[in-house]
């Protein structure tokens, strides 16, 4: 893929890229260069700014400051077309493939070879002939006419790469490409990366799997709080060195100490196996009055665990005890009847009815208690809704306001209000403050503590390091579907959490 005239200098140069949102600095003067035929690893904790940086490179987000130079041309900001035309291609974590079409159709989608004529019929032979060399180059074991539905995850990753190559990509950006691959599939992918490097293609490799990063990249750049905090090259690329750079944030103290010591076990999960990680067994015990943080990297299987406990998903095995009693939970209804509630991660899809009013949302899980016989008593449900609105300080004009018109923080408070008007024993919060402003965040932390002080057991899933360290009394860390370790408060540190989250033991 060598071109006749190669401009001098690295393929990609970012200079002082910043991106601020109201109240948030996502990127703060990031400079990064990638040479031709170089593989650069990009690592950082959840929320370090990796995704925003990638969006800048894809032309989706316009930086507020800085300049970009791609292949010798300067841009103040890339547009989506600039990115495509200058040969920047993405292989996303969630694959963007049409699984009802075959491999060749996916690679050349929108650019299909046509027979001449007004009908614009697709020339399938030419389509397959055009794709075959690309597949040969990657050494894949499927054919152009294999349906995508029949491909494994690894094969789909390779298909995405073939698509990138068909666009004459000069820089391929891979976001967690190995997160769902087996060891042999990963090895195969890494070989392909090396071949691409030999052809002069540059690669940015984003991964949490530090051992893989170590084995395939030429250089590692570490992001923290939207800044480049260090780079490693050659022999210095070691997991412990990478972790040392990733941590070290100034964490605000959010901790509100409990008023009462934790009591007897409220929730005991034993040998749980979820459909996402069928080979892993998870056990944990949650006591009354404590906030147990469940930390880990995105995709570690925490939400799956919560959904299996709450009865949303089927579990493959294991037992669940609430307040010492073994309970059979087949659907959320069973969990709710036992006082086990879930504040789900995706509140717009699972937590709320966006065009229901505050009242209708709040009364929904225990509507029967507001009913006289089969009929709802509007006065009863409005009374509770009004009480919850004041208790949680929900900023809405009145309780007839539709939930969808409110801000994220107020919507989350409505989800909480649904459960707080009942009698919780255990509440699982899944990413309780995602997309919520700072003020509402601290209100929610205070609320969790109040619940715990009143004898409720709180399980908080959080990918936010500051939050999980700051709010929890005790912490469990998950990694690839298993619990890799428990931490007591005196062991809380970014270093320890990250060690466990990437699957290393504490030293």
């Amino acid at each position: 893929m060598q071109r006749l005239t190669e401009p001098a200098g690295p393929f990609l140069e970012l200079n002082g890229i910043s991106k601020t949102y109201p109240g948030v600095i996502a990127l703060d003067g990031v400079s990064l260069s990638v040479s031709r035929g170089e593989i650069v690893g990009l690592i950082g904790e959840n929320g370090a700014g990796k995704s925003t940086l990638m969006k800048v490179l894809g032309g989706v987000v316009e930086p507020t400051a800085g300049s970009i130079r791609v292949d010798g041309r300067d841009y103040p900001a890339l547009t989506v077309n600039d990115a495509i035309n200058s040969g920047i291609a993405f292989v996303h974590q969630e694959l963007n493939l049409f699984d009802n079409l075959d491999a060749a159709a996916n690679i050349l989608i929108g650019r299909e070879p046509l027979y001449g004529g007004p009908l614009r019929l697709i020339d399938r032979k030419a389509l397959h002939a055009k794709v075959q060399p690309l597949l040969d180059k990657l050494g894949v074991d499927f054919k152009p006419d294999t349906p995508v539905a029949a491909l494994s995850l690894a094969q789909r990753q390779l298909l995405e790469i073939a698509k990138a190559l068909s666009l004459d990509a000069r820089l391929v950006i891979m976001d967690e490409p190995t997160s769902s691959l087996t060891l042999t599939e990963t090895a195969r992918l890494l070989t392909v990366l090396n071949e691409l490097r030999r052809d002069g293609v540059s690669i940015i490799f984003i991964s949490h799997r530090l051992n893989e990063v170590k084995s395939c990249v030429d250089r590692v750049v570490v992001l923290r709080d939207g800044r480049v905090v260090g780079a490693l090259a050659g022999e210095t690329i070691r997991p412990d060195a990478m972790i040392r750079l990733m941590i070290g944030r100034d964490l605000k103290s959010l901790y509100i100490p409990p008023k009462v010591p934790p009591g007897e076990p409220a929730l005991e999960i034993t040998d749980f196996r979820t459909t996402a990680f069928p080979d892993q067994e998870v056990s944990l015990t949650l006591r009354r009055g404590e906030i147990l943080g469940l930390a880990g990297l995105v995709g570690a299987g925490r939400t799956e665990l919560a959904c299996a406990a709450f009865g949303v998903d089927h579990r493959l095995g294991g037992t669940l005890r609430i307040a010492g009693e073994t309970v059979a939970i087949r659907e959320p209804r069973d969990a709710i009847a036992r006082g086990l509630y879930l504040v789900p991660e995706d509140r717009k899809r699972c937590g709320l009815h966006l065009d229901f009013s505050l009242t209708e949302n709040i009364s929904l899980p225990d509507l029967m208690t507001y009913a006289v016989g089969p009929l709802i008593s509007p006065a009863a449900e409005e009374k509770i809704a009004e009480a919850q609105r004041h208790r949680l300080n929900i900023r809405a004009y009145d309780i007839a306001t539709e939930a969808g018109t409110l801000s994220g923080g107020n919507q989350q408070k409505i989800v909480l209000a649904k459960w707080l008007s009942m009698k919780p024993k255990v509440i699982i919060f899944d990413e309780p403050t995602r997309g919520i402003d700072v003020g509402a965040k601290s209100e929610i932390y205070q609320l969790m503590r109040n619940l715990a002080d009143n004898g409720v057991a709180v399980l908080m899933i959080s990918s936010d390091m500051e939050e999980v360290i700051g709010v929890s009394d005790r912490m469990a860390v998950m990694q690839e579907g298993r619990i890799s370790g428990f931490l007591e408060r005196d062991q809380f540190s970014e270093h320890n959490v990250l060690q466990l989250a990437v699957g290393k033991t504490l030293n």
Binding site: R333, P344, H353, E360, L364
Partner: protein, 341 residues
């Protein structure tokens, strides 16, 4: 009454006034009684259809249910000489069972409602035709069921000068009232909207969404069973190849006109009632204004099309207005809300 229903009500008044102006016979007691009778007959099963549509489903089978249950009903009375209350009970239970089968296939087998009830449409009519050997099922000469006839085709409050109110219409009003309470006041009704709007969130709130959806099909089937009796008594003879043809489309049209969204989660009993009334007024309009009756469906289709487009524009306009209000900062914070101090 919701704003949406009010618009529909005004539309009915306007159409009625225009027809009455062009042909005064529209307001004659006999014509009004006939129209009311038809509103009752078509309105009954439209209510059930509306419930199914609110869950995000559809029931295409009702027209064929009328043919199948209708011929069975007549046969029970004629060939088996069953007492009519028992025959009525059997038919209503049969309707409920058919609805239960639809509900099972939709929720447990996870088939699409359109496919399930399309198969019902084909199967029931086929069986009805086979059952009568494609002949016409009718009562024997001179066979009379005074009480049943009074309930279905009779009239109440008739005087020398007043033709009376058709009992089919009265039955419709009673059923509509009950369904209105169920949909808008009961726990089940709230669940129905919750499941239709966002089944996932409903499940997370502990609602058995499958049971709720299946219940809607059962209600639709049960009302179709009652309607089958009313229609059989109205026509008194049933040729299963054509009896009830396209009636499911009248029901869907009434529900959609009445503000039910085919995406689920929206609709009101008042809307469905008004939708059913408007459809029959339009039918009547075609007859009274000398429009070729072959244009019947075209008129209905045209009015629904225009009605839905107008409604969408209205919704958009209201959303725009609401947005403007918000930008003007009229929405206060709870601290300023009354009752806090």
């Amino acid at each position: 009454m919701l704003k949406k229903d009010l618009g529909l009500f005004l539309l009915i008044l306007v159409v009625g006034a225009v027809v009455a102006f062009l042909n005064p016979r529209f307001l004659s007691p006999l014509n009004l009684a006939n129209t009311a009778n038809l509103i009752g007959l078509f309105g009954l099963f439209s209510l059930g259809e509306g419930f199914v549509i609110i869950t995000g489903g559809i029931d295409l089978s009702v027209g064929s249910i009328f043919a199948l249950l209708g011929v069975i009903f007549i046969n029970l009375l004629v060939a088996y000489s069953l007492p009519w209350p028992i025959a009525v009970l059997i038919i209503v239970i049969a309707g409920i069972l058919l609805g239960a089968i639809h509900g099972f296939l939709v929720t447990k087998v996870r088939m699409q409602p359109f496919v399930v009830t399309l198969c019902g449409l084909l199967v029931y009519r086929g069986i009805a035709r086979w059952y009568t050997e494609d002949g016409t099922a009718g009562f024997e000469f001179g066979q009379k069921f005074p009480a049943l006839e009074w309930l279905t085709t009779g009239r109440s409050f008739a005087t020398d000068t007043f033709t009376g109110i058709p009992n089919s219409f009265m039955a419709f009003v009673v059923v509509a009232f009950i369904m209105g309470v169920v949909l808008h006041r009961s726990v089940f009704g709230r669940y129905l909207f919750a499941v239709g709007k966002n089944e996932e969130a409903a499940r997370y709130s502990g609602i058995r969404s499958n049971a709720i959806i299946a219940a809607a099909y059962v209600i639709s089937g049960g009302l179709a069973g009652i309607s089958a009796i009313y229609l059989a008594m109205y026509t008194r003879s049933i040729s299963p190849a054509s009896h009830g043809n396209f009636y499911e489309l009248y029901a869907i049209a009434a529900a959609v006109l009445g503000g039910c969204s085919l995406r689920g989660g929206e609709g009101s009993v008042m809307g469905i009632v008004l939708g059913a009334i408007l459809l029959q007024v339009l039918q009547n309009l075609v007859n009274l204004l000398g429009i070729p009756s072959s244009l019947n469906f075209a008129v209905m289709g045209g009015v629904i099309l225009i009605g839905v487009i107008a409604d969408m524009q209205l919704v958009r306009y209201r959303a725009y207005k609401a947005n403007e209000k918000k930008r003007a900062g009229i929405v206060p914070l709870p601290a300023a809300a009354p009752g806090k101090n």
